[in-house]
Amino acid sequence: MTAKKQVPIIEGLFTWPSDKPQLIASRCKKCGTVTFPKAAFCANPSCEKVRENVEQIKLSNKGKLWTWTVQQYAPPAPFRKEPLPFQPYAIGMVDTEEGLRVLGILTSNDNLKIGMTLEMTTGKLYEDAEKEYITWMWKPV
């Protein structure tokens, strides 16, 4: 059986295809403000709103867990996650090296601790006949 093609359910949020996927953010060349997902304008209220000031960057894929929870009930559509029946899964807020705090699904529900180091990866949400749909996830290291 050949592996199905993996595609992000929403394009443009992380580099893909890639051996080492990274989140795609934006950075203001004037003041350094980083935003994810990438934004058209610098979010800093004291900075100019000029499209050309904002460049696309890839975030480092290391972070520290700021907080987490385990979702015990299936969120309603349009969120979709397998395997079925629903399995509880963890969500966290992760501080990246750029000073950004980013949400994401965690690859494990066990032994989660505030302050632990995580690495960005990707994981399957669900699949259909041809494709597997993936999102970014944070993996404890």
Binding site: F36, A43, V70, K81, L103, G104, T135
Partner: protein, 404 residues
Amino acid sequence: MKKFRDVAIVGVGLHPWGVFPDRSMPEMAVEAISEALADAKMEWREIQSMVAGTYLWVSQREGMFGILSGTAISAAMGGIGIPITSCANACATGGAIFREAYLAVASGLYDTAIAVAADRSAGGFFRPQSQDPQFDLDYIRYVMTGETNPAYWAMECQRRMHDLGTTEDDLAMVKVITSKIAPLNPKTRYKKAFTKQQVLESPMVCAPLHLMEICATSDGAGAIIVCAADKAKKYTKKPVLVEAAVIGSPTFGDHTIPLTYLSAYPRPGVGILTESRNAIAAAYKMSGRKPEDIDVIELPDNSSWHYFAYLDCMLQAKDGEAEKLLRSGKVDPIDGELPVCPSGGLGACGEAVVAQGLFQIYELVKQLRGEAGERQVKNNPKVALAQTYGYAGNNAACILSKAW
């Protein structure tokens, strides 16, 4: 801040909170308005300006009635040609429209105004309404992470436990203490008081929050009538002065990620819940009041975490003070020195999203007038404070006092 003329609340009305599948939002609003008009002994034609709360989950239920709730409600009341606006500030909408009604009168443009909101939300978890994968951050966040509202609350709660030592017992005791009122308030959806054991044995929704530590969604409607304070005696012997009616939004660099968004960029010196801290600070400034002047509080206990986080915020106390207040009995909803949530709170009502702020104001008016019956607070309150926060970084707060 320029001082406008004084404004008083002269009438309040509330459709009960609950599940009403056979009633439309405008119908529920008409009942709330009718009760408020009767309370003020006022005719509908005496209302000069109106602002309505816009239902958020428009594509799921009632279509245009959600988007144009103001005009739909006025059509149901019978059109009288007054100015109407519809407003959406998420769960802070009730407080936001109250502020608009206040401003309409405080500015001198009108002598009377009404804030009205109805909501049909009794359908469980909220979800994004568009399918736009490019610009709708709510949709993107939800599809990519599955983060529900309770998951957000649970993460904030987990962090508070880590930083401040909040315990599982503390979280459960919020429900025990606020639900004491539940059987006493005829307007709430739930009428049951819970024990600590029942709370802790209820299913885990998102660790560390149990089902009984999270509020349900609800249907409901409310209406508040304000008028120029110097004309209030025409309508009521017990006008309630609006000392402050404010709204707030977040400050850049807030340490939390507001629901809807996927990331935050915390900056030194900027705290958490800045939309709420900004609104509360503005309310104290506008009224000239201090936290120690407040006699009774309604806060948004969407979860046990909210109760603690927003009590700290509303009292401008050191983070972690709220747990001590709860343990001490000082904030008991009836007997406390500073009663909190004498309505039973969101735990007992369930949240009718855009109308919730009006539920709080209704309760505080009843408490100040001494008309709350079995749930009347015992400390003879003169000054009251309410606040609600809303999705994506909204907040509304008000300070009310006796004007007789």
